[in-house]
């Protein structure tokens, strides 16, 4: 290349500016897509950060529902679910399950009696590999209508401002129903006595290709016995874990899985609104919990019970929560696996 003359130097200024503009534009578009220019965007990282207690998250643990215990068992489908969904898991037959009983708290060392929300997570693995993951809780409806509202609830709960919760409740009146439930619903004595609900709506696709908006529940075979918080507390900080170890040690615990189909017009995008009791409900099978294992070296510890892991025959509906949960669970999973040294894969307490 010959040395540039003044005229050729001038002629490259235009192209150089163009090249710089293309590169800068590309970088800006990338940054924009990544949300770097949108500090208001609710990202999964923000949502997960908001779950942490003031003292910071418990490293190596799930960022919510941090206290839990693993189990293995099976889901025995009776075939009735096949009328609603072509998913193989509903065809008559048995699928192995890895699951986790848990408490809705970011504190893995919490006193069981102090936690209002109890949950169950399932990884159902039918032969053929189309697995189904679902995480359900014992609430009859979700406290808030949208993921954004859930984030605002977390922020308001953590806020030192005296009116934070009051203004949250004014903006999100649906929280009132949760408050009423939390204040009056009795505590049962056992994970085995709880009814667990998907709360989120999904679409089941039947053999004709028709979609059905559904929610599902697990109904316990064990009769509930109700306890006061004081009685439950008196039984020890890990009363629920000890109870489920004892019960399953004596014999398998079972739940009936029911699928409820919405009528047209029922709210599917808002899990804070329960559907009326008269909706068509199908018993699709039985969950049996055969064995309890401590979480530390149990099979559930490193499973992300992402509710968007669904087989063919199940789809997401317009409910915004499964997507938000999936995004947040992934962040929680990425963090706790990176912190594995803080939660070694061996049980530190005596095994059951």
């Amino acid at each position: 290349m010959s040395a540039p003359t003044p005229s050729s130097a001038r002629s490259v200024i235009g192209p150089l500016v163009l090249i710089a503009a293309v590169v800068a534009g590309g970088a800006a578009a990338f940054a924009f897509t990544a949300g770097w220019f949108s500090p208001q965007r609710l990202t999964p990282v923000k949502l997960v950060d908001a779950l942490a207690p003031p003292t910071g998250p418990a490293l190596g643990h799930r960022r919510n529902h941090a206290k839990g215990i693993c189990f293995t068992g099976a889901f025995e489908a009776n075939g009735a679910g096949s009328a609603l969904s072509t998913a193989q898991v509903f065809a008559s037959g048995r699928s192995p399950v890895v699951g986790r009983f848990n408490l809705g708290t970011p504190d893995p060392k919490v006193v069981d009696a102090t936690v209002r929300v109890r949950g169950i997570s399932l990884r159902i693995m039918p032969p053929g590999g189309q697995e189904w993951r679902t995480a359900m809780i014992d609430l009859p409806f979700f406290p808030v209508a949208t993921p954004q509202a859930f984030y605002e609830l977390l922020t308001a709960s953590a806020s030192k401002a005296p009116d934070a919760m009051k203004s949250f409740a004014a903006a999100h009146p649906e929280i009132g129903a949760f408050g009423a439930w939390a204040g009056t619903a009795p505590f049962t004595a056992s994970y085995a006595e709880e009814r667990y609900n998907s709360l989120n709506s999904f679409l089941f696709t039947d053999a004709s290709g028709t979609d059905h908006a559904v929610r599902w529940s697990l109904l316990p075979a064990a009769q509930p016995t109700f306890l006061s918080v004081a009685d439950l507390t008196a039984r020890g900080p890990d009363v629920l874990e000890q109870d489920i170890i004892d019960r399953v040690g004596k014999g398998p615990q079972t739940w009936t899985m029911t699928v409820t189909a919405a009528n047209s017009g029922d709210p599917t995008a808002d899990p804070s609104k329960a559907w009326p009791d008269d909706r068509k409900t199908v018993q699709v099978g039985t969950l049996t919990v055969n064995k309890i294992e401590p979480e530390a070296d149990g099979p559930c510890r490193d499973i992300n019970f992402d509710p968007t892991v669904v087989p063919s025959g199940i789809k997401l509906s317009d409910d915004p929560f499964p997507s938000a949960r999936s995004a947040a669970y992934a962040v929680s999973f990425d963090r706790r696996t990176a912190e594995a040294k803080d939660y070694p894969r061996v049980a530190t307490e005596a095994k059951p």
Partner: protein, 188 residues
């Protein structure tokens, strides 16, 4: 490996521009999906996984095609550092095109996630479940994605530099439409 040809073959050009589209889409989907909790999160993730595997397949085909047909020689008067940069960046592109999908696949495997393609087809895991592997691969996948995008910006800048300033035929060798202007062929 260089050949006498002044242009890449039509097959090579087709693969280049198809993959350019796929990879750019992939990188934007990647940074977009991890920054949102809206329903587009699940939609984008469900595109990201099969598109990544498609890129892996295309990259393998492209590698074979490149080994078979080679590349036109760079202009003889191109300064040595630029020649070196061109060669190294091409190695980096091939490494990233093959590594990124494999890192993603491995990362999902190590996390025991199902690796779902379009139509409900599931790929087998390529690694056992492992915290430490997941973290290692996740970090590699994440940081290399930004490196990949930076490399693409550099590549675009270099391509435009050849096209608009040096006008040495390097851009035309891979241009999306066949060039009929033989004057632009590299001087050998």
């Amino acid at each position: 490996m260089t050949v006498d040809r002044t242009h890449f073959t039509p097959l090579q050009r087709g693969l280049h521009w198809l993959m350019a589209l796929c990879i750019l889409a992939m990188l934007f989907i990647g940074v977009g999906m991890v920054s949102t909790i809206t329903q587009s999160y699940v939609t984008l993730v469900s595109i990201h996984k099969p598109l990544g595997i498609a890129i892996l397949v295309l990259a393998l085909i492209r590698l074979v095609v490149r080994l078979r047909y080679g590349a036109p020689a760079l202009p003889a008067d191109l300064p040595i550092p630029m020649k070196l940069a061109a060669k190294l960046s091409h190695y980096a592109f091939y490494a990233l095109m093959l590594a990124m999908p494999l890192l993603g696949w491995g990362m999902l495997s190590a996390a025991a996630y199902p690796i779902v393609m379009f139509g409900g087809v599931t790929l087998p895991p390529i690694l056992p479940q492992s915290d430490s592997l997941h973290t290692l691969l996740w970090n590699a996948h994440f940081y290399l994605a930004f490196a990949f995008f930076a490399l693409i910006l550099l590549h675009v800048a270099a391509a435009l530099f050849h096209a608009l300033i040096r006008r040495d035929g390097v851009f035309e060798a891979m241009a999306p439409v066949p060039s009929h202007d033989q004057d632009l062929a590299p001087a050998e």
